[in-house]
């Protein structure tokens, strides 16, 4: 006799995935912030690259 296959609990999976992504997002943001990742964002945001906004 074959054993009945255990059904995957999708609800539980999505909850795990949701919290996993949240944790990964927080870790990445913190890591980027602490290692100076904000500087390039700042550089781009406070200077205008004329071509980048389509001026030429």
């Amino acid at each position: 006799m074959t054993k009945p296959r255990k059904k995957l609990d999708l609800g539980k999976c999505s909850v795990l995935l949701r919290w996993g992504i949240l944790a990964a997002a927080l870790v990445l943001t913190a890591l980027g912030f602490l290692t100076g990742g904000t500087q390039d964002v700042m550089t781009k945001a406070i200077n205008i690259c004329s071509e980048c906004i389509g001026l030429g």
Binding site: L28, L31, G32, D40, V41, K44, C49, E51, I53, L55
Partner: protein
């Protein structure tokens, strides 16, 4: 709500008056929605622009921007499109005009997949491809983004103080202007045309719609599949809460069996919320908005929040970093070309070979000084070492480039890069190039004035 966030994210009213962009420290934060950081009112960074820039900036920036995008996505999904995006608001207002409307159909459903193409090609593949060649190219911003043209380009151009910007307009601007106008006109006939078919940010957030902490969802045991929600929705949804749903919430009240509900309903104010709670919320929102205006008004003056000291002269840098030498571009005693650039700026990098060529052609008659922006100048020595190790160009950095005492401002710069000035042997400016300069123009001006 969208109007409020649109105003809050563009609270630098002083910028609209002066025609300058905000340079305070809040600009290191990315907003959730599409809001060009070159808009004079913008007080924070655009996540899409930051992401494209991050590919060429290094791991830290990629972690930071990627993390923030992931965070927004998993928390809100496309709720951001429906409630927080200023460009979404503009599109919805345009759709309110009395024009014939193009309704959704299987074709628009297929077209809604195009935004994934824009995401992959213009936001990831092209910027990554160019980043491998040390060229920071934000392809979506440069060739497509109507928010950049409208909020950045056109608002900047409309200010008389930026009259010098008019000189750089060319085919690229014509293309983007035409595209922006087409999209905006299209929005009068098609609901949220840009959000549905083009926006890569919406495409990215849409991937998280089913998983996100906030938004709407269908309680399947209550749903009778009557189809009322999908037929009334103006977006290309198959069911509420899918990748196309912007969680505007209109279907929550439409559903006859109340099967469509908000996730975590306690967060959202109910219809019968007490008057006191509503008043407190309203007062808080107004206070935050006024606070943001006041803060940006006071702090937008002399530019960078990162103080780096002031040098009366430009500090010369080479492949090893700061050399300890300084130079005054107005006192070289010969024809001097001063080019303001940055390793973060694609057109700046593209035109550097022209300056290099001029510098090597006229080593005794022309002084070429390439001045890097102060912030981000850490990357310059490595760049010089790799591409210009033996160049005749004198590389330098400008402290407090945006302050009145910096050379960039002193020589007429107004936020935009690249920027080039040509000075005669007495230090008087006789030519300016705002934006990119061609080799022919450069050569012509040198030959005419030697």
């Amino acid at each position: 709500m969208q109007l409020y966030f649109g105003l809050l994210l563009n609270a630098n009213l002083k910028g609209f008056v002066s025609g300058s962009i905000y340079k305070g420290s809040s600009k290191l934060l990315c907003t959730p929605g599409l809001n060009c950081y070159s808009c004079p009112g913008a007080i924070s960074a655009c996540p899409l622009g930051a992401l494209q820039g991050a590919f060429s900036a290094g791991h830290s920036t990629l972690y930071y921007v990627g993390g923030i995008l992931l965070l927004y996505g998993i928390l809100f999904g496309r709720l951001i499109c429906g409630w927080l995006c200023p460009f979404g608001l503009i599109q919805e207002l345009l759709y309110k005009t009395r024009t014939p409307k193009v309704k959704k159909c299987p074709v628009t459903r297929v077209l809604s997949l195009c935004k994934y193409l824009f995401l992959v090609v213009f936001v990831v593949l092209i910027p990554v491809g160019y980043a491998l060649k040390d060229m920071p190219l934000p392809a979506f911003c440069k060739f497509i983004c109507p928010a950049g043209t409208l909020e950045g380009g056109l608002i900047l151009l409309s200010n008389a103080a930026n009259a010098s910007y008019l000189s750089m307009l060319g085919p690229l601007f014509n293309w983007k202007f035409l595209l922006t106008v087409s999209i905006l006109v299209g929005c009068m006939f098609i609901f949220r045309l840009f959000c549905r078919f083009i926006c890569p940010l919406g495409a990215f957030y849409g991937l998280f719609n089913r998983l996100s902490f906030f938004g709407i969802q269908v309680e399947t045991h209550k749903c009778t599949d009557c189809g009322l929600c999908t037929s009334r929705c103006l977006m290309d949804i198959k069911r509420p809460g899918d990748r196309e749903c912007i969680s505007c919430g209109d279907c929550v009240d439409t559903c006859p069996t109340k099967a469509i509900v908000w996730k975590r309903p306690g967060i959202f104010p109910k219809t019968k919320t007490s008057r006191i709670t509503k008043s407190i919320c309203a007062i808080l929102m107004v206070a935050i908005f006024i606070g943001a205006i006041g803060y940006t008004w006071v702090n937008s003056g002399t530019g960078n929040s990162i103080e780096m000291g002031f040098s009366a002269q430009l500090s010369v840098i080479d492949k090893t970093g700061l050399t300890g030498r300084t130079i005054d571009p107005t006192k070289t005693g010969m024809l001097t070309i001063v080019n303001f650039w940055g390793t973060w700026c694609a057109p700046c990098i593209e035109e550097l070979p022209y300056f290099d060529q001029i510098a090597s052609m006229y080593p005794d008659n022309v002084q070429v000084i390439a001045v890097h922006t102060d912030i981000g100048s850490d990357a310059a020595p490595e760049f010089i070492k790799k591409y210009y190790p033996n160049s005749n160009i004198i590389f330098a950095k400008d402290y407090k480039q945006n302050g009145a005492e910096g050379y960039y401002t002193a020589l007429g710069g107004r936020d935009a890069y690249p920027y080039t000035v040509v000075l005669d042997n007495t230090g008087i400016i006789f030519a300016k190039f705002v934006g990119s300069v061609s080799y022919q123009d450069l050569l012509k001006i040198v030959e005419e004035n030697l």
